[in-house]
Point group: C2
């Protein structure tokens, strides 16, 4: 294992999760106070990321970022774009930050998004990490606003054509949870009755003989996504048509 960094190559992760009926992204606080009136104080947020190690693949690096954030392994990761423009560093804050860490001014960043199921409890999260609603992000460093926008665009298109939605919900989910996930991510309203009909026609969305527990009204039936079934049927009729 070669732990040296490739000093101009990093992987940044857009970690996404549904919470409070909104799409959230995990950010890391970036602080630097040089106690110099003439220099700006850095107090903003960036995407979690890591330099690529000599003996790590790109995907492995994305996994490692997540493991360091949460202590847990994460299987599904989606590479969506690479950022390597010479002019990625725009603000004085960015330049200052990069110099203070002795990093290269031009870094190539391969960006991934990772989706965390909304029922997952992430313990052990560092204080410097915080979830933000995608619709009200704080000031971000570098080109990370752009990266998040691109990630969201990719999610919105993949959620239609790929079985990505199941990463957002619990392993066992209700149809209403599934519908709410679509509605939140795509920012649309769906008719519950038609949604149910469409989902019922999908053999890979498997009804269980199991119901919600601890709800004060009629408990709803639980479903699972069968990856096996999905990968053996050709899917061209997508759940959502918008």
């Amino acid at each position: 294992m070669d732990f040296r960094k490739i000093d101009n190559l990093s992987v940044d992760c857009v970690v996404l999760r549904l919470e409070d009926n909104a799409l959230n992204v995990l950010l890391r606080k970036r602080t630097l106070n040089l106690y110099n009136e003439n220099l700006p104080e850095i107090d903003d947020w960036v995407l979690p990321g890591h330099y690529v190690l000599k003996s790590n693949n790109l995907g492995e690096t994305a996994n490692r970022v997540f493991k360091e954030l949460t202590g847990e392994d994460h299987l599904n990761k989606n590479q969506f774009r690479t950022y390597g423009n010479a002019a990625r560093i725009k603000s004085d804050r960015d330049l200052l930050w990069v110099r203070s860490r002795g990093a290269k001014v031009r870094t190539i960043t391969v960006a991934y998004y990772l989706i965390v199921a909304s029922n997952k409890d992430l313990l052990d999260m560092d204080d410097s990490l915080k979830w933000f609603k995608l619709k009200s992000l704080p000031q971000l460093g570098f080109d990370h606003q752009q990266i998040i926008n691109d990630a969201y665009e990719d999610v919105k298109s993949k959620i239609i054509t790929d079985p990505l939605i199941f990463d957002f919900v619990a392993i066992k989910f209700t149809l209403n949870e599934l519908q709410m996930a679509f509605e939140t991510i795509l920012d649309v309203e769906l008719d519950n009755r038609n949604f149910r009909k469409k989902v019922s026609s999908k053999s890979y969305i498997v009804p269980l003989e199991e119901k919600q527990k601890g709800v004060s009204k009629k408990p709803s039936r639980l479903y699972m996504f069968s990856k096996d079934v999905y990968s053996h049927v050709v899917e061209t009729d997508y759940i959502i048509n918008k």
Copy 2:
């Protein structure tokens, strides 16, 4: 302008074009004969590419690759994936090749595809360059077979949702040419009458008062794609449903 190379970062281009009712990709011959019986002779093909220069962006690099290939500028380029695994170099030929050029063993390659209109004449092409049908590619170096496969998958999905098809045909095209382009790329058969109906309903596919010339049968009407109109209408009803 800083012409030094970033020695672990390259851009490879999958240059695509429709010809003879098939999707073709432009490859560059890779030859190296070390006149040593114990070493393999290299005589295969690779994607055209270039190291990224210190003062070039990634997209600019893709443009430069195309310009060096053809002497012409190319506007639309699509970044679809980045390859940076430590194990990209698998064969002895690859290792030999890399060493013979004094290049780094681990290179990060940002891959783009560029689409050349089928009516475009590319003169001045170097002898080492050749078009190959996607369905019958020669032996390829590195992971370039994988890169081409990934590019094709991306094209097939983008051709449905984005106005990518118009890059493949001439600026002024007939509906049958457009249909053939879809059929060839997606490897499907479409009903001409239904295709016409669908296309006619698209305001951004504009009929001209102009017809084909020099054909021996009824000349067909020419159409143009209006980018302006397209970008001002929300398109969710795609031309192809397969």
